[in-house]
């Protein structure tokens, strides 16, 4: 079980030498409860991927703390329980999917038999079983996304982090991802995912946060999400209202 806590996170970075610092996140605080599907949405450049990179300790905040089960993310032990699918995953070109998954399993200390069993199961679930022996460089965008999902889920993680998981997928692929997320939720796992597709977010998420230009502009609780699901309110309208309000505030400042 993994509880995630972001407390007043600030993050800036330099896009290049002799270039001005760019603010990626400002005073961002939120928490994710174990066993929920948490959505992080926002326009392009809002800071969603930065948030994920900070959580995975690929990048460090300028100030503030990020904890998983009250331990700072710098203790990388929690990564044993994390599965991560980046946006547009770039996988090793010359490996086959079988080899990639064998690597993923070995990295997590799984025995060979379990790796083979999980690989076969996930390949079936994601519909990529026919391409297990093909080099990954020959995969289409949608196939890479499916391969990335297999990589993320191979070790049966407790926390699944998905950055734009529907990107590049056809309608069947999108349905497969939705079913997969609901299945993970059913198993009591925590899913943290970023998406632009509000209908998917509305359908899947128990809690939601909207980021815009590095600031957390709105959060929605389970009750509010239920209202969206039942059609009592529109997430799209709420999203537009939150982002517009932030834009007006930014303009006024």
């Amino acid at each position: 079980m993994l509880d995630i806590q972001f407390s007043t996170i600030n993050k800036t970075y330099k896009p290049g030498l002799f270039k001005k610092k760019v603010t990626a996140l400002t005073e961002v605080s939120f928490s994710v409860t174990t066993g929920t599907v948490f959505g992080l949405v926002g326009p392009n450049g809002a800071g969603k991927s930065t948030t994920i990179r900070l959580l995975l300790n690929l990048s460090r905040p300028d100030s503030g703390t990020i904890t998983v089960n009250r331990a700072p993310v710098t203790d990388r032990d929690f990564l044993r329980q994390v599965g991560y699918l980046p946006e547009n995953p770039y996988l090793y070109d010359h490996l086959t999917l079988t080899e990639l998954l064998r690597f993923a399993g070995a990295a997590n200390g799984l025995p060979a038999a379990q790796i083979a069993e999980r690989s076969a199961l996930l390949a079936r679930q994601t519909g990529i079983g026919h391409a297990m022996k093909r080099p990954l460089r020959t995969f289409s965008k949608g196939m890479r996304q499916r391969a990335g999902l297999c990589y993320a889920l191979l070790h049966d993680p407790t926390l699944v982090i998905l950055d734009e998981p529907m990107s590049g997928l056809d309608p069947l692929g999108r349905k497969m991802v939705c079913d997969l997320i609901l299945d993970l939720k059913g198993q009591g796992k925590t899913v943290f995912f970023c998406s632009h597709i509000l209908s998917d977010v509305e359908r899947l998420c128990d809690a939601l946060a909207i980021l815009d230009r590095g600031r957390l502009v709105r959060t929605f609780s389970d009750g509010e999400m239920a209202a969206f699901r039942q059609g009592e309110a529109s997430l799209e309208e709420a999203f537009v209202a939150a982002v517009s309000a932030q834009a007006e505030q930014g303009g006024a400042a």
Partner: protein
């Protein structure tokens, strides 16, 4: 920990072995070895020495091309294309990543060298069979020692490549720094020796401060010339066991130090 390092090393080696540029490098080395057989008859008297020297140079040059043009990409591409995000989202420490990449490169170099060595031995044996009179001083054991030290030299170069990949953001910069380190490391010993011998004869070519600077640089940059036993192999000169042990120890310690430093710096690096 070892399982993770090994898993990454295997993946890195596989990526390198399946890179098409490798076939070009292998073909080039095989052409040089074939050329050796074809033109051997032109080198009367020195034929044995030229054959051994040409073979060892072909192995060494192929190894250099491999490290510079395939090896550098194997780590830099991970960072450029963000594959490293996938790897580091697993319970890899940054140090394990550095060591995994290093061992992967070393495995790739060893596999390629082993293949080329088979052809090289065949070439030497063929020329020796055709012109046995010119191979009086030749010894297979010295030849194999020379090949082993080429492998050690390339291992050290792999550590340098990993170090520069860990601290720079571009594969081009890594290539420039690694090549510069190699060129300085392979020539500096000779330059210093020349300056000292000229100074002993009372002729001052470089100022004292420049000589001091070169001596400091000689301590910092790895001495790649210490792994060059081509002359001994070509002339069949006996090898000093202590010298072999000291030079091998130097290579291993230098590589370990460079990798430790790389891991230290890499730990602080951010991936945005």
């Amino acid at each position: 920990m070892m399982r993770r390092v090994w898993a990454l090393a295997v993946v890195t080696c596989r990526e390198g072995l399946r890179d098409r540029s490798l076939y070009g490098i292998l073909l080039f080395a095989l052409l040089v070895l074939g050329l050796n057989v074809a033109v051997a008859g032109f080198f009367m008297r020195q034929l044995g020495k030229v054959t051994v020297d040409m073979n060892l140079s072909a192995l060494s040059f192929a190894g250099l091309l491999l490290v510079f043009f395939i090896g550098i990409n194997l780590m830099a591409k991970d960072i450029d294309k963000k594959t490293i995000h996938l790897v580091l989202s697993r319970p890899f420490s940054r140090g394990e990543y550095i060591w995994g990449k290093f061992f992967g490169l070393v495995l790739l170099v060893l596999a390629t060298l082993a293949l080329l060595l088979v052809f090289s031995c065949a070439t030497v044996a063929t020329v020796r069979g055709l012109y046995p009179n010119y191979f009086d001083g030749f010894s297979w054991s010295i030849f194999f020692w020379a090949v082993l030290f080429i492998a050690l030299q390339l291992m050290l170069l792999c550590a340098i490549v990993v170090f520069f990949s860990a601290i720079t953001t571009s594969s081009f910069i890594t290539l420039i720094f690694s090549m510069a380190s190699y060129l300085v490391g392979i020539t500096l010993e000779e330059v210093l020796f020349y300056l000292k011998s000229q100074a002993a004869q009372g002729e001052v070519i470089a100022s004292e401060s420049l000589q001091r600077l070169l001596e400091v640089v000689a301590w910092l940059v790895p001495n790649f010339a210490a792994f060059d036993f081509k002359t001994e192999a070509a002339h069949g000169l006996a090898l000093d066991g202590v010298r072999l042990a000291v030079n091998a120890g130097y290579g291993v310690c230098y590589a370990a130090l460079v990798l430790w430093l790389a891991a230290l710096i890499f730990k602080r690096r951010e991936f945005n």
